[in-house]
């Protein structure tokens, strides 16, 4: 599960890069950068959740 979270973090970053390279209009570029950061936030949430689940299992 932690790996999935880290992969989502990377995916979000690649989305941000793609938005910068492929899109020209400032609005759509900003929208896709924010979308990429949302994917990163999702990945971070999964990494944190997996850490918490691991802690609970150890208890």
């Amino acid at each position: 599960m932690k790996i999935v979270g880290f992969l989502l973090l990377l995916t979000g970053w690649l989305l941000v890069l793609a938005a910068i390279v492929l899109l020209a209009s400032p609005g759509s570029r900003a929208g896709f950068v924010l979308a990429g950061m949302t994917v990163e936030a999702l990945g971070l949430t999964i990494v944190i959740r997996s850490h918490l689940i691991l802690r609970e299992e150890k208890r």
């Binding site: 880290f6 995916t11 979000g12 492929l22 950068v33 850490h51 802690r55």
Partner: protein, 449 residues
């Protein structure tokens, strides 16, 4: 293509050198804060780990770090994407070969970076306090100094693709960070988070029902004195960084010092007020964390905001750090005795975003690749987007990278000390002597002679 950096006048070079010589005070301050916030039985170990991390980082950076990081105008590996050049890593020879240590901007940058990389390596020590083995922390510092730090610092300070966002894609002046909020502090803070996840919490930190009894730091005097020392170091760090990496005139050091002081002061006072309201009395360790959080935020913004804005940025940094320390400890079960993740990662990210919101570019900003871009007004949308891309890179690339490297390292060289080491204290277990031997009661002292 990278533009050559204009040379510094002799006076500017001497002023810059003076500022660089102040930077080790930041390392001294962070080390004292880490030691004071840990347990007394591990205080000597923490200071030994700090000296070791600084030493390892300096040597590894000399061997290969600067070769990956480089400096503006130096050779780099560049690929072209949609007609735009992306400079992703430097191509300098190892061991500083080809670098004339003669007071040129490149040589001053190399000297500054030796101290900066050590500072970044010190940050994770605070979160691994009381349980991180000395040899493992040295190995982790080597990875940081040899690969993670130079790669990201090249993107920001070496004419890399983040600095090129302005010229390539019209995003303001490109990603800007005068004093290392991203490459030193957020990078160090994210490494601290990775290390904390790998190490797990200290024994007894979380009870079986999930409660987290406080384990207070052993010496508030060390912590608060460390804050004062760090201030001196930050004056040097922010001023030297602004001169070398954003092309600021040395006279701007006055504005930088005023902003640095105000951000730290506002952050510390905010933390003191918040803890005073919530707990009845101001909390010394959280106020110290707030102070350093303000300093970290100032690293990004110091030369681009007016003093009134610096107070606002500092106050928000202080509030963010105060609440996030509790959030990480209680909600996310991240046992971070030094508060490194909150102070350096959260404070640094806020500083980088605040630059996008508040920045005013009085002078043409060099930003390593841009040469003289036109002076623009504050808070341009493009600049904000460039800062967002930088933050996204830290979270989406640097965090997985540093976690992966430390996870692999933990397999080869286990991070966590044995149970008896934690019970006995890191000082006795790993160093064979305590930091405060005169406070130990020896039974033979009471044997009548």
């Amino acid at each position: 293509m990278p533009m050559p950096v204009p040379g510094l006048s002799e006076t500017a070079m001497i002023v810059c050198l003076f500022f660089i010589f102040l930077v080790p005070f930041a390392g001294a301050g962070i080390s004292l804060i880490n030691a004071g916030l840990g347990r007394s039985r591990s205080a000597g170990h923490m200071m030994m780990a700090a000296i070791s991390a600084l030493s390892v980082a300096a040597i590894v950076y000399f061997i290969c770090g600067f070769a990956w990081q480089g400096f503006i105008g130096k050779p780099g590996h560049i690929f072209t994407l949609s007609g735009k050049s992306w400079n992703w890593i430097a191509a300098e020879p190892f061991f500083f070969r080809g670098l004339a240590l003669d007071g040129s901007p490149a040589s001053l940058a190399a000297l500054l970076q030796i101290f900066c990389v050590g500072l970044a390596a010190l940050i994770p020590l605070g979160s691994g306090a009381d349980r991180w083995r000395l040899r493992a922390s040295c190995a982790s510092a080597a990875l940081l100094a040899g690969w993670t730090y130079p790669l990201f610092a090249h993107w920001v300070w070496g004419g890399g693709w983040l600095a090129q966002l302005g010229v390539n894609y019209g995003l303001g002046h490109g990603f800007i960070d005068a004093g290392g909020a991203s490459s030193i502090h957020v990078l160090g803070g994210l490494s601290a988070l990775a290390v904390t996840w790998i190490l797990g919490p200290r024994r007894g930190k979380y009870s079986p029902d999930g409660m987290a009894p406080a384990i207070p730091g052993h010496n508030a005097v060390l912590v608060l004195f460390g804050c004062l020392l760090a201030l001196l170091g930050w004056f040097g760090l922010n001023s030297a960084g602004a001169i070398l990496f954003t092309g600021s005139a040395p006279a701007r050091a006055v504005l930088i010092a005023v902003n640095t002081m105000l951000e730290a002061a506002a952050a510390a006072l905010t933390a003191a007020v918040i803890t005073g309201i919530r707990f009845g009395k101001p909390d010394a360790s959280l106020s110290a964390n707030g102070w350093v959080g303000g300093l970290v935020a100032s690293s990004a913004t110091c030369v681009f905001v007016v003093p009134a804005e610096a107070i606002v940025i500092g106050a928000i940094a202080g509030a963010l750090v105060t609440f996030s320390v509790e959030w990480f400890e209680l909600r996310l079960e991240v046992d971070d005795p030094g508060g490194a993740v909150s102070v350096h990662a959260i404070g640094g990210i806020w500083g980088l975003l605040a630059l996008g919101l508040f920045a005013r570019f009085h002078d043409p900003v060099l930003n390593v690749v841009n040469g003289a871009l036109p002076v623009t007004g504050g808070g341009a949308a493009g600049q904000w987007l460039a800062q967002l891309v930088g933050v996204a890179t830290l979270l989406g690339f640097v965090l997985p990278l540093t976690y992966g490297l430390n996870w692999a390292l933990n397999r080869l060289c286990p991070f966590r000390v044995a149970i008896e080491g934690e019970q006995q204290g890191m000082d006795l277990y790993e160093l064979g002597a305590g930091a405060y031997p005169e406070f130990v009661t020896h039974t033979e002292d009471f044997i009548p002679r």
